[in-house]
Point group: C2
C-alpha cells in the first residue's frame, strides 16, 4: 500500500495531480474532523471543523472534475444528518417520499437536522454532492454510519501495527467503546442525562465490509447520489450501559447532559440496502466485548482518567448545568 | 456612518471584538462572494466561493454566540436555493408543508436545489442558521432574493458618491441590468439558450426597503429562522429581452447556454410576507429603464465590450457548446 501525506483541505494541486497519476476507480473519503464533541468545544474547534471538512470535501469534488477521472467517491457520512427524534417514522436511506401541497408526490433528500457542527458538516457535504452530481455527473456513495464499536477487523487483528486507535475520552470516544473501556478500567460508566438517547450501532468489522460493498456497487454515470444507512441495529444508551455494567461490575454514573439534544428519542432506521447486498450485520454480542476489554487491559497504563469526563458543552446553558463535573474525580481501580 | 475594514471569513477575533464593542441590534450580512458565473469559472473560483462564504457565515454565527450579543442576523440569500422548475407548485417562503410516509404532516425547510456553487453556499448558510438557531437560539432572517435590477434608491440618488456599482459583464452582470446596458450601448442583448428561464425580479429600491422591513420585524428569541422571499414578480428572460429590445432598438443575440440548467421553467413564488408587512413592490416599469440607461450612457466610456459575453461555463459539455463564442465580436455603436 502506498502512502501520500497531503492535506485535502489545503493541498489542492497535489490532490488533482495524485488523482491524475493514480486514475483511481474509487476514492474512500475519510479526511474529515470526525468528532461531534470536539466540534462543539468552542469557536476555534467549530471553525476548524467547518473549514476543514467543507473545504476538503469541495476540493475532492473539484479535483475529480478537474482531473477528468470518473472516480467513485465513497464518503463517510453519519446517521446524525437525520437528527434524532424528529421523524416519527422509519428513517429511509437518504431520500424520503413526501407529498407536497396540491398532492404532488416527490422523493427528496431527507431533511437535515444536525445536532452538532460536526454533524452539520456532513449535511453540507451531502448538499455539495447533490450539486456536483447534478452539474458534473460525479458518482458518489454517502454512507450514513451509526456509532462504531469494537477495535479489530479480521484484517487488523493479524498484526499489532494494523490496530486502529482506541478513543476513550470525552471528545473522541464513541459511547459503547467508552463504556467498555470504563468497565475494563473499573471506573463508573458515564451516561449523559437520562441515557434515553437511542442511537444506531455498527461493529468496526461491518464498517469495513460496508465500504467494500459500496465500492463494489458503484452508482452508474448519471445516477443520483447513492446513500446507504450503515448500521446494524439501534439501542438505547442506558440499556447499553446496563449491559456493560452487568458484564464488568462497573457502576453507572448519570451525569448532566453536556449536549443540546432531546433527553429521550426513538429511532427506527432502514438498513435494507446493505442487507440486500450481502451484509449480515454483527449485533451487540457480549463475546465481542471480551476482545475490546483485552485491548483495553493491555494498554491500561496509557489511560489518562482525567480525559474521561465530558469536556465539551454544546451551549452556555449545558455548560452551566455541567459546572460541577470538574469536581468529580475519576480513579482507576487497581486490577 | 462608521467603516471598519475586516475580512469576516478570516479576521475572527476582530469580528468578535467589533460585535462586543458595537452591541448591534441587527447585523446585515452581505459579506459573500455574490456571483453564480464567477463561482463556476473554474476550481479556483469554486473553492474561493465555498471557503469564503461558508467560513464567513460560520464565523458570524460563532461570533454572535461568543460575543454574547443577541443581535438579529439579516442575511442575503437567493431564490436560487429552491432551484428552478423542480417544484411544480407555488414556492412558499422558506418552509414547505409536506406529508411524510404514514400520513405524518410536517413543515420542513424547502429542499435545496442549487444551480451553481454560489447558490450552493446559500443553501449551506441556511443549514448553518438552522443549526445555530436550534443550538444557541440565534435570531436570523434569511432573505431569498430574486434578480436585482436598477441602479439607484431614493437615498443613493442624492449624491453621486453613493451610487452602487453597475455590473454589466458576463460574470457579475445580472440579466436585466445587462440587457439595459447592452440596449443603451447599442450591442445585441445576450440571451442564453432559448431564454425560457423564468426568474424572480426585484428593483434595487425594494431590496433596500425589504432589508429595512426585516430589521424592523425580527424573530423573537427562540423562534425558528425567519425566511422571506424578496421578490416583486417573475418574468421569462426572453420576454424581458423583447421588452428591452423594443425600448432600445437593440437586436437579440441567442447564445448557447453556458449554464447547466433547464432550458425552460415555470416559476410561481409567494411573496406574501413582505407584502403583508407593507411592501408595495415596484414591478418592471419602462420608465425606470430610463434611469438605468442614463447611468449607462453617462459612463459609456468605461465599458469594455470584451467583458459582455459569458466567460464562465458550468461544465465541460456547456463549455464545448459555447466554444465558438470567443469568435463573436461585440462592437459598440457610436452614439
Amino acid at each position: 500500500m502506498k502512502f501520500v501525506n497531503l492535506d485535502v483541505a489545503k493541498d489542492y494541486d497535489l490532490l488533482v495531480q495524485l488523482i491524475k497519476d493514480e486514475q483511481p476507480d474509487s476514492i474512500v473519503h475519510f479526511a474529515e474532523q470526525r468528532a461531534a464533541p470536539y466540534s462543539m468545544k468552542g469557536s476555534k474547534q467549530k471553525r476548524y471543523t467547518i473549514e476543514n471538512n467543507v473545504a476538503g470535501n469541495n476540493n475532492l469534488c473539484c479535483a475529480v472534475v478537474d482531473a477528468e477521472v470518473d472516480a467513485h467517491i465513497v464518503h463517510l457520512g453519519t446517521m446524525g444528518v437525520y437528527g434524532y427524534g424528529t421523524s416519527g417514522g422509519e428513517i429511509p436511506e437518504g431520500y424520503i417520499d413526501v407529498i407536497l401541497p396540491g398532492g404532488r408526490e416527490s422523493n427528496i433528500l431527507h431533511p437535515a437536522y444536525p445536532g452538532s457542527v460536526y454533524h452539520a458538516t456532513k449535511c453540507l457535504d451531502a448538499l455539495l454532492y447533490q450539486f456536483y452530481n447534478k452539474n458534473d455527473e460525479i458518482r458518489v456513495t454517502d454512507l450514513h454510519q451509526g456509532v462504531v464499536w469494537g477495535t479489530n477487523t479480521p484484517q487488523t487483528i493479524k498484526d499489532e501495527r494494523l490496530i486502529n486507535r482506541f478513543d476513550y475520552d470525552g471528545d473522541y470516544g464513541t459511547v459503547l467503546n467508552r463504556f467498555l473501556m470504563q468497565g475494563a478500567m473499573g471506573v463508573p460508566l458515564t451516561v449523559y442525562g437520562t441515557g434515553g438517547q437511542t442511537r444506531a450501532f455498527i461493529h468496526i468489522s461491518d464498517t469495513a465490509r460496508c465500504i467494500e460493498i459500496a465500492i463494489n456497487n458503484p452508482p452508474k454515470k448519471g445516477d443520483r447520489v447513492e446513500i446507504f444507512n450503515q448500521i446494524a441495529e439501534t439501542r438505547r444508551v442506558r440499556d447499553i450501559a446496563k449491559l456493560v455494567a452487568e458484564q464488568t461490575g462497573a457502576e453507572v454514573n448519570m451525569l448532566p447532559n453536556p449536549r443540546q439534544e432531546a433527553a429521550e428519542n426513538e429511532l427506527d432506521v432502514s438498513n435494507e440496502k446493505f442487507c440486500n447486498l450481502g451484509l449480515d450485520p454483527i449485533t451487540l454480542d457480549e463475546r465481542l466485548f471480551d476482545e475490546v476489554q483485552e485491548v483495553v487491559k493491555k494498554y491500561a497504563d496509557r489511560c489518562d482518567p482525567t480525559k474521561i469526563l465530558p469536556a465539551s458543552f454544546w451551549n452556555k446553558k449545558r455548560a452551566e448545568e455541567c459546572a460541577d463535573l470538574e469536581k468529580v474525580e475519576v480513579e482507576i481501580k487497581k486490577t
